[in-house]
Symmetry: C2
Subunit: 611 residues, 2 copies
């Protein structure tokens, strides 16, 4: 019962399969080098290739020759502006990380210089970031008490910074930057909000003037810590902390002595032999990824604004290098904080030279001005931190997520609540797990749709989406919406047989013509594995048994190659595979009306109705 007398208008192509090595090469290239970084190197003499290579790894070599005095004027203003922000922010964030305040200044000196040479963003302002600072204190604080053992704690923080840098640079060199993509926008919104909430809660220590405070970060520990010490509350600060007066009242808490002088070397402080090495590595990896995700996202946002391109892998190498260099020169983890970068952008920076200007200003501060900061009150630091943090709780973004995509909102709230009620790690794990679950669920439970004919056209679309689309009598057209993999093969088999059952029941009830053809539109099936092929074979067997003919429409290159190799094409018959649903339906209609269903098919079909 072939359809040899029906001429197929446009045959479906089965591309020749590529040799294994070649297809492996092209898929590895798409996975690790989607941006094709070697493109400019093609057809160039060796000397030019060396120059391009240097410029690739040290971008300043590429843009420095084009640098003009006009640019410098803008960068100077922007650099001085962000330096004035960098000094108090540096001190605050260092105290958030439970490190000596001077380390916040050190960290605004060396890393910006490194970034200026290696980074590809023109707007990113380098410095310590609040969330990573908090993470360091919460992850390391669990193992080593920063008050009892400040030297060890500092060593671990520097070691963690080293590993963060190493990890970031490795991701870049190994072209694994896409791992950062798995922290979705929703995750970042929730996570930042949660971290900001936690940081604000930690500031209760400063605001209430408490001396003892928990090292845990979750809401219940902090609340217990706060309310178990009500007798210690400084009601003055508690009450007045809400108004602008508090920093006048509490100026007796100073930040301590700030040593004059530039960053001392700290290579000898890297505690590779410490029993806490694993803690440092873990802290380094977690903070490194978070800092990277934030920094790359910030850099990319401004690049889109100004229409230039940022290379994610290159950025990772730059971040990594600046943190490795930083860990050897008394700097702790740095990234590209959003607030400082936004100020940089608004102040009109043109290139990464603004980072060099900022570093120079911080250097001058370190050399001559540190004694001035001796009088910075703790509560001012707390208020600087809180002001920055409140900006990070992006409730508008959360509302936007709720409106557009409920699942993204769930991910966001998972991250937020996980961080606030559990810990930063729990928040991250919840959010990443939910995000991955969504991807897996998309594949495990693909949508299937019944297609109908859009009136006055040869186009077939889902009858759900286009209620005016008409069914074709005797033909059931199903569309599958995802790759057919092991994870959904069983589901799809059951779902397809249910569609057939329901259609047959409906036709039986209405007394219309019975079903003769099932057309599977596999346009949207991007890939198939051996479980998927077995599934199709079973669907075919099942259809045969019911006297139905299985027809395929628009198999894609990869799918048809595999169907051909596994002899499924032979099994179903090449003549039952069409380029479009329209052509498949035309062929089915031709068969239905020219040659009536043959007796064999009718016989096969009859007992089915009795069961």
């Amino acid at each position: 019962m072939g359809n040899a007398d029906y001429e197929c208008p446009h045959p479906v192509a089965i591309p020749a399969s590529k040799p294994l090595f070649k297809s492996l090469e092209s898929s590895l290239k798409e996975t690790f080098f989607p941006d094709d970084p070697f493109r400019p190197f093609k057809n160039q003499p060796l000397s030019k290739k060396v120059v391009l290579g240097l410029q690739y790894f040290v971008p300043i070599l590429e843009w420095a020759p084009r640098y003009t005095f006009e640019f410098f004027k803008s960068d100077l203003i922007a650099g001085i502006t962000i330096a004035s922000l960098a000094v108090p922010q540096g001190i605050s964030y260092a105290s958030l990380a439970n490190l000596p305040p001077i380390f916040g200044l050190y960290s605004s000196f060396v890393p910006p210089l490194v970034y200026a040479m290696l980074g590809s963003s023109r707007d990113l302002a380098v410095g310590t970031v609040a969330v990573a600072s908090l993470l360091i204190s919460s992850l390391l604080g669990k193992e080593v008490n920063p008050n009892e053992n400040p030297k060890l704690y500092l060593q671990l923080a520097l070691t963690a910074t080293f590993f963060a840098g190493l990890f970031q640079a490795s991701l870049g060199f190994l072209r694994l930057g896409f791992i950062v993509d798995f922290l979705s926008h929703a995750t970042i919104v929730g996570f930042m909000g949660g971290a900001a909430t936690v940081v604000c809660l930690q500031q209760l220590k400063g605001l209430l003037g408490l001396v003892n405070f928990t090292h845990e970060t979750d809401l219940s520990s902090v609340m217990r810590s706060v309310f178990s010490q009500t007798h210690q509350w400084r009601w003055e600060s508690g009450v007045l902390g809400c108004c602008f007066l508090f920093f006048l009242l509490l100026t007796k808490y100073f930040i301590g002595h700030l040593k004059k002088g530039l960053n001392p070397p700290s290579v000898s402080d890297l505690a590779f032999g410490s029993p806490y090495l694993m803690t440092a590595i873990k802290t380094g990896i977690i903070t490194g990824v978070i800092a990277l995700a934030e920094g790359v996202a910030v850099g990319r946002s401004f690049a889109i604004f100004k229409n230039y391109h940022i290379d994610g892998n290159k950025e990772m190498i730059a971040f990594g290098m600046m943190n490795i260099a930083g860990s050897c020169t008394s700097c702790y983890l740095t990234a590209g904080p959003f607030s400082r970068s936004a100020v940089n952008f608004n102040a009109g920076c043109k290139t990464a030279v603004s980072n060099i200007v900022m570093a120079t200003a911080v250097m001058i501060t370190l050399l001559f001005l540190t004694p001035l900061f001796f009088y910075t009150p703790l509560v001012v630091l707390s208020s600087i931190i809180m002001a920055a943090m409140l900006g990070l709780i992006d409730y508008e973004a959360a509302i936007h997520l709720w409106k557009i995509d409920k699942f993204d909102f769930l991910v966001c709230m998972g991250a937020y609540l996980g961080v606030v009620f559990g810990s930063v790690e729990i928040g991250l794990v919840i959010a990443v797990t939910l995000s991955l679950l969504r991807v897996l669920l998309f594949v495990a439970r693909p949508r299937t749709f019944i297609l109908g004919n859009i009136p006055n056209s040869k186009v077939f679309r889902s009858v759900d989406q286009y209620p005016t689309a008409n069914n074709v009598p005797g033909v059931l057209i199903l569309q599958i919406d995802a790759p057919i993999y092991f994870a959904n093969a069983n589901y799809l088999r059951e779902r397809i047989s249910r569609w057939i059952y329901e259609e047959e029941e409906k036709l039986k009830a209405s007394g219309e013509t019975s079903l003769h053809y099932i057309i599977l539109d596999i346009s949207a099936v991007g890939s198939i594995d051996t479980s998927g092929i077995s599934m199709l074979e079973e669907v075919k067997k099942n259809a045969d048994r019911k006297g139905l003919k299985l027809v395929l429409a628009n198999p894609r290159s990869e799918v048809i190659k595999k169907l051909d190799k596994s002899k499924f094409i032979e099994n179903i018959g090449q003549e039952w595979i069409y380029l479009t649903v329209g052509e498949a339906v035309a062929a089915c209609n031709f068969m239905l009306h020219s040659c009536k269903p043959n007796p064999a098919a009718a016989e096969l079909h009859a007992p089915e109705n009795n069961v």
Copy 2:
């Protein structure tokens, strides 16, 4: 620069969004109840509903009234046949699990009776399985030495069986049966082969007549154990073991005394208070899932052969119940072994009554015939196991995987080598991780294709697959092949801008008309999240900046709803969204030829060429 004067032939429908509760309900239903088990309950009186409910949970009530004497004759023969297999297999597998041999017989008595009542397969023969037996001995053997502490070991095996049953039944009740789908066919092939290899290696103990033997299962441990005892090798068995004579030579190793009598109760042996409880739970879950995956796959294969339906969730409940009941009556883990089920099928079984016949035969054996088995030599057991195991190493399936799908082959080999060189858990983890990675990679690195016009049609297909397809001058048509999620949003943005760049370079080199339109065919984009929408917004911005017009073709129901909510439709203009690529191209051509590119666009486009 709208196209208001061009009339869109078939507008794209934006379905009204469903209320949250309703859409949640329907997606939960598709996830957990894809088979719609409540279908027969609709529009039935209460009494009928109760009967249907009972029949749903206890399938024997459904088919027993229709049971005939003809069926019984077939089932009797099949039951006796599998009983003759069950006795020696039971004894062998129990010794594989390091349990007293009599427990193999006990396990072929109670569980088949439970399955006969609750199971939905007509061909599955219940009994202990080799792989699960091996798993029990390898997982429990690590914690408790079965020779030194046989009572504790036995208790843990029974407790593990209990938890395996509990876990299996829970999966069924919670409708989470699809978790088993994540063990793909390729995983099972590799895993079974690996386990069979390991089991065969373990038989070297029996074949070489070694007394001391390692409890590890990996290749290197076994080889070390074998070759460190060369002086203990029984060369007689080593040499003659290859021929049929060996069991004549080595009959001095007996299996020990078999007690007459039926299964003693073993509820009091369930060691819930043991310090090894966690080991028992872990063993139970791992063996439970493996046994389930094998059993369900076996049942399903035969059901497809005979054209009846198996309910995965119901099977899980049946498996779970039989193991819970088994753990209280001195049975260890049972499932549906492939070999025994195949014999059952070939012997012509009609219903699960063959299991009842087998159980009865085993009962008679237990009551009267056990003394006969006193003379079963160990080496016979070893050869029974090896013969069964060699059938499980399905190298043909592995070759098939290699031919059709290299990645499936990789998964299969990962499972095999992991089991052989590491442990069963390592093998499983490797295979499942690789399988999930494939799904994630499909989403993280979706294919993008350039489409061209198939000659003599209005159809557009990938120029890779259809080399005869023609480009449309001035229009770049891109197809995206996966849902647009956080995991691929960055990649897609970069890839799309690279496609545009490459096309512009090509056009510049050939001096053809420059690019004016980019059509994104998003037919295969089944879903989008907020990161994906941001990506599209950025692509739009980028295109605007280059003076290119972005056009969408065939957005699906879910996608267009979200694009509408996020105002992207407004942003791009409803008139730039078409039902098919063909209609989008027609509109672009109309605009290109009626109104020449306007000056604003030309101006925007010009500076681009200078950069």
